[in-house]
């Protein structure tokens, strides 16, 4: 009989990375993501406390900032995701949660671990914008969607979050984990269409 106390092996949300033409989608696994929800009355206090004690900058609506190894992304009124890259997912989630919770203890703000609720993909390559045109109704032109821009939008009728991570064509896509395989299929279809259409037109 197997050892009941052997640690459980985590499964990945996505399958392999996808590389088609000038487009690459790379799964980001094992990361810690917390949902920080703050009532309108206490937003100012939370912003001050995070800046003073942790050096974290709580971004404005539809923006993301990375500081002190943590990305804070605004995903709606009073709601932010706090994302920390981590190899050992669980202890790190605890650490980030503990630090934030400790810092915000006296404030009317809540922290919920949603690390496994979102499946994340890093999208890159020159064809990314053409692929995204087929998937989300968001203007991802640099002028309209600059570095650090966040959109809470939909892909195939599923609510997703899109973040522009760098001024080149680098994006991060957060999708509900249960939809990951299905959406990966849509992303692959779009990427194949972009590559084939470029060859056809070119």
């Amino acid at each position: 009989m197997a050892d009941a106390n052997e640690p459980l092996r985590p499964a990945t949300a996505w399958q392999d990375a996808l590389e088609i033409g000038d487009f690459t989608a790379t799964p980001i696994e094992g990361r810690t993501t917390l949902l920080l929800a703050v009532g309108p009355a206490s937003e100012r206090d939370v912003r001050r406390v995070l800046a003073d004690r942790l050096g974290l900058d709580l971004p404005q609506q539809c923006r993301a900032v990375t500081s002190a190894g943590v990305t804070l992304a605004s995903i709606g009124p009073g709601k932010w995701l706090a994302i920390a890259d981590a190899v050992e997912a669980v202890p790190s989630a605890r650490r980030l949660a503990d630090v934030l919770a400790g810092t915000l203890a006296d404030l009317p703000a809540s922290l919920v671990d949603v690390s496994d609720g979102y499946a994340a993909l890093r999208l890159s390559g020159e064809a990314t914008r053409d692929v995204l045109m087929r998937l989300v109704p968001v203007d991802v032109d640099r002028a309209a969607f600059s570095d650090g821009a966040v959109a809470a939008t939909h892909m195939e009728h599923v609510g997703v979050i899109l973040i522009r991570t760098d001024a080149a064509d680098g994006f991060e896509l957060l999708a509900p984990r249960s939809f990951a395989v299905s959406l990966a299929g849509s992303i692959e279809t779009a990427a194949r269409t972009v590559a084939a259409s470029r060859r056809f037109a070119g």
């Binding site: 499964a11 929800a37 496994d116 249960s178 056809f200």
Partner: protein
């Protein structure tokens, strides 16, 4: 502006006798082979099917919709009502394609339609003889009685006789896609005006999208072979396109039609990506649907020429005068050698000169204008040869399947026959204003051009320019038009009066319109629906205004008084495939996979769609007779040993904040604030109208932290309900909500050995003994050496049960671990089928009972409804109708003859009542064959059901012909005392 020189007609090949040696944008070095009605033909790269057919001398292209009259090519663009053909073969066969927009490719197969046995000898042309019968409203008047025959006899017969091409039978083998684009300026139309607008916007640094319907932008600058500053206008077009193409902020979309304007400055466009090749390369979509969101739009869609109504004006060889120029200048094809030009304006003169320059013989220009009107105009001189007959009209086109002459009535009244093979008609140009009216704009009448142009109220952000705006030239009288819509018919000779067509695609004649007006359908919108004028796939592009003119003449009202019918999207036909995009087959909608999906698939599980979720339905084993064999085995495992099931699909909502308990008290009909930390409570939420919204549990982990579960089906609805309540009703409450459905994998562990199994994975020192972890307890625990988990002692099956939640990434590993470490306990996975049977045995309600008509009391949950607090739905739940004594309430049923089955959906009637609606006293909501009890059981909603326990009634299912006697019982068939839950 003058015309480019086009060389004299000289056949470039004996196969293309009407191809000019020079001119046009076709590539004569590229010969394309194609076939029409089986005849091998050839054309060139850049041709449309229509231009290639004309080059080959083919003019008869099809038979008309109703009368099966011979029809040919009227226009050179998307407005074509006449030359409709079937393209391609097999599953790619497409009906009613306009030959004028179908680009030629090597191997193209085209067929004429609506003819039998052949195009030239069409048996159904006999309809012409009976034409007096087929007047407007013919079907309404004729096939009235008996109504029962309509579907079975009349409609199929009519559809065979009338109608156009045949649809392909199989699924479309090509694929399509949709995308969203953003622009500062959307330019609709790539003619001279559109190109100028695009260039100006691009030079100002704007983000521009330019859509042009044709394969090669340029519009009438190309069609008219214009010269600008001594150079062909085409050169300027190419230079502009080159500059635009080099700008990364400009997107040029040829073969793209903007077909609709929608709210939020959104425009719909369809790009024919690969219609011009036989088979699209792998992964290249056939067509692409664009949603364009543009701050501003420039409507530069040009204008559409209309004809003049005269007898037999539908003969192949009668062509719009502007189209004649398009064939000469764009395609290098001479549409006829001996031409009569019939015009009421100067533009017809331009065509006469183009024909003459290209080597055609213009026999006569029949100019409907009076001597004074024509001489007052700034008309270009008529061509040297041929006569300019002022004040004359073409009374009738002569010939059978092709034009052989024109019957002309001179100003003097004398009639003369002129032999010709082409009648080029110019009745004036109508601005393509359609997109300007999609959001409710009204067109404005303009006397100077004798047409409607876009009105003052354009869609937000839209500007109209060029011919689309009614601007034809700088002059006051742009092309010196004297309106003439309809030629007064000649005195009829013989018993069959010749027909004069207004709408060629729907075979609507001037007489149909007059008849409709006589019968009272004299409003433009009524006329359209009664006669079907303008309702064909061409949407009346060439016929709407002439039709209105005929109506005006009949009613004596002016044209602006009569008004146009409202143009709605789409401007040109859009294939359903493009609208569907990628959403077909397996991609019809996204699916959700539970955390153990891959494992269940490996186990060979059969899946069932519940909402968007793919859940394991049952786990078959070799030798199973059917699904029930597997489901029964799974039920037995739960009842006698232990079963495990992935219940992650249940909605999970994290509710936090100082006011979380108060918030939930207002949401649930029962009280949650009194719930102790570490405990779970069953709860029911009502809609505002007092009907049950959903049921589930709430677990309290701290003073201000609850985790709420919902049913699978209602997860999104409940989350939305909670958000709406918080944001709009009680924003002041300190509550935050988070959906954590996807974060947690939740596994139900149920059965007498459930605790033994659980003990093997829960980390010490947590104590799960019955005395330590009570029924309806909840705790945060560790499993398998440190994985954080939440444990709930709840049960849906009636057995000792737990639900264990771990972060989703560990769900599959936990499932596998439980199966391994519990093998000696007889553990089995169970699916949705077994889960359904277990809950029916226990009398738990689910989606079939929470069906939007039931109150908490109906479901036997009335006791939960608190009288000590306010909550959503409380007031309206007290309405007399919702508390009436005769409401249908939840009961159990079992067959009087225990071997009988009960059908879900069967209706209940009294034992000796008639099985009809009047005797209906309820219906079966859920039914199952109970392995535990050995007979059928069911849950039902039944009037006065609680008073009827023990009574025998009948469950009647007229659909399956079953009529079964059943005994009314308590809905709880299994362990009604609940001893097993607490064991």
């Amino acid at each position: 502006m003058s015309q480019a020189r086009t060389s004299v007609a000289r056949p470039s090949s004996s196969l293309q006798p009407f191809r000019l040696a020079e001119g046009g944008i076709v590539d004569r070095s590229r010969v394309l082979l194609y076939s029409f009605d089986g005849a091998p033909l050839q054309g060139h790269l850049g041709d449309t099917l229509a231009s290639a057919l004309l080059a080959s001398g083919v003019r008869l292209t099809g038979r008309s919709f109703k009368y099966h009259r011979p029809r040919g090519i009227l226009s050179a663009g998307s407005e074509e009502p006449s030359a409709l053909v079937e393209l391609r073969r097999g599953d790619r066969r497409e009906a009613n394609t306009r030959a004028t927009v179908a680009e030629l490719y090597d191997g193209l197969v085209a067929q004429s339609q609506n003819r039998w046995p052949s195009l030239r000898y069409d048996a159904m042309a006999i309809n012409q003889v009976f034409a007096p019968l087929f007047v407007a409203g013919f079907y309404y008047k004729t096939f009235m009685w008996p109504a029962a025959l309509w579907e079975r006899l009349y409609e199929p017969a009519i559809r065979r006789a009338a109608g156009l091409g045949r649809a392909a039978g199989g699924p479309d083998p090509d694929h399509y896609e949709k995308l969203t684009a953003f622009a500062d300026v959307l330019v609709i139309g790539g003619g001279a005006s559109g190109l100028a607008a695009a260039l100006a916007a691009a030079r100002a640094g704007e983000r521009v999208i330019l859509c042009d319907e044709q394969a090669h932008p340029g519009g009438r600058a190309i069609d008219d072979g214009r010269m600008v500053g001594g150079r062909p206008a085409l050169d300027g077009v190419l230079e502009t396109l080159a500059e635009l193409s080099s700008d990364p902020r400009v997107r040029i979309l040829p073969r793209t039609t903007v077909f609709g304007v929608y709210d939020g400055r959104t425009y719909g466009a369809v790009e024919r990506v690969a219609d011009h090749v036989a088979v699209p390369p792998a992964d290249v979509p056939r067509q692409r649907l664009w949603r364009i969101i543009a701050k501003r739009a420039v409507l530069a869609a040009g204008a559409t020429e209309r004809g003049i109504i005269f007898a037999d004006n539908d003969r192949p060889g009668v062509m719009l005068a502007g189209a004649v120029r398009s064939y000469i200048h764009r395609y290098g094809v001479l549409p006829g050698r001996r031409a009569v030009v019939f015009t009421n304006n100067d533009d017809g003169m331009t065509t006469a000169r183009a024909l003459a320059t290209a080597g055609g013989h213009v026999v006569a220009v029949v100019d409907a204008r009076s001597v004074s009107a024509a001489s007052a105009a700034t008309a270009p001189a008529p061509p040297p040869e041929g006569e300019h007959l002022l004040g004359a009209v073409v009374v009738r086109a002569l010939g059978g399947t092709e034009v052989s002459g024109a019957l002309v009535r001179l100003a003097s009244g004398e009639e003369r026959t002129i032999a010709c093979d082409l009648i080029a008609v110019s009745g004036g140009w109508s601005p393509n204003l359609h997109l300007s009216t999609h959001l409710g704009g009204k067109p404005a009448w303009d006397d100077a051009i004798a047409a409607f142009r876009p009105g003052e109220a354009l869609p937000p952000g839209m500007t109209a320019v060029g011919r689309a705006a009614g601007v034809f030239a700088a002059a006051d009288r742009p092309y010196a038009i004297t309106p003439m819509w309809q030629v007064p018919p000649a005195a009829a000779k013989g018993w069959r009066k010749p027909k004069a067509f207004v709408d060629l695609q729907h075979d609507v004649t001037d007489e149909d319109i007059q008849l409709a007006a006589r019968e009272g359908f004299d409003h433009a919108e009524h006329l359209k629906r009664y006669t079907t004028l303008g309702m064909a796939t061409d949407q009346g592009r060439t016929s709407a205004l002439p039709g209105i003119a005929v109506l005006s003449a009949h009613t004596g009202r002016s044209l602006p008084e009569t008004g146009l019918t409202t143009a709605r999207p789409p401007y040109t036909p859009v294939s359903i495939g493009a609208l569907a995009g990628t959403a077909r087959g397996a991609h019809f909608r996204p699916v959700r996979r539970p955390p153990t999906y891959a494992w269940a698939r490996q186990c060979g599980a059969s899946f069932v769609e519940t909402g968007l979720w793919l859940r394991a339905a049952y786990f078959p084993e070799p030798g199973d007779r059917d699904w029930y064999t597997a489901a029964r085995r799974e039920v037995e495992a739960v009842r006698t040993a232990v079963g495990i099931s992935d219940v992650s699909t249940l909605g999970k909502i994290d509710v936090r904040g100082r006011d979380a308990a108060a918030f939930l008290d207002r949401i649930y009909c029962n009280t949650m604030s009194s719930l102790a930390i570490g405990r779970v409570r069953y709860g029911v939420m009502l809609r505002e109208d007092g009907i049950v919204l959903d049921d589930g549990t709430a677990a309290r982990f701290s003073d201000g932290h609850f985790v709420v579960t919902t049913t699978t089906a209602n997860a999104a609805r409940v989350m939305q309900h909670l958000e709406v309540c918080h944001q709009t009703l009680w924003p002041a409450l300190d509550v935050t909500l988070a959906s954590v459905t996807d974060h947690w994998a939740q596994i139900a562990i149920a059965g007498p050995r459930a605790r033994d199994l659980l003990a093997r994975v829960v980390d010490r020192p947590f104590d799960i003994a019955n005395t330590a972890f009570l029924y309806m307890a909840a705790a945060e625990v560790g499993v398998c050496g440190g994985t954080p988990a939440r444990l709930f002692r709840v049960s849906f099956s009636g057995e000792l049960g737990f639900e264990l939640a771990v972060p989703a990434r560990f769900g599959q590993a936990l499932m596998e671990r439980l199966l391994v470490v519990g093998a000696d306990l007889g553990v089995r996975p169970y699916g949705a089928e077994a889960l359904g049977i277990l809950r029916i045995e226990k009398g738990h309600v689910a989606g079939a009972e929470l069906n939007g008509t039931t109150t908490a009391a109906d479901l036997g949950l009335g006791g939960l409804m608190s009288r000590k607090k306010e909550y959503i739905g409380r007031l309206l739940a007290e309405r007399p109708g919702l508390v009436a004594a005769d409401r249908q309430v939840l009961v159990g049923l079992r067959p009087a003859d225990r071997s009988a089955r009960i059908r879900s959906g069967a209706h209940l009637v009294a034992r000796n009542a008639k099985a009809d609606a009047a005797s209906d006293i309820g219906y079966v909501t859920s039914a199952a064959q109970s392995p535990t009890l050995g007979h059928a059981i069911a849950l039902a909603l039944m009037a006065r059901g609680r008073e009827r326990h023990g009574e025998i009634v009948r469950a009647v299912s007229p659909l399956t012909g079953e009529d079964v006697e059943v005994e009314v019982t308590s809905p709880v068939f299994y362990d009604p005392e609940g001893a097993r839950l607490r064991g």
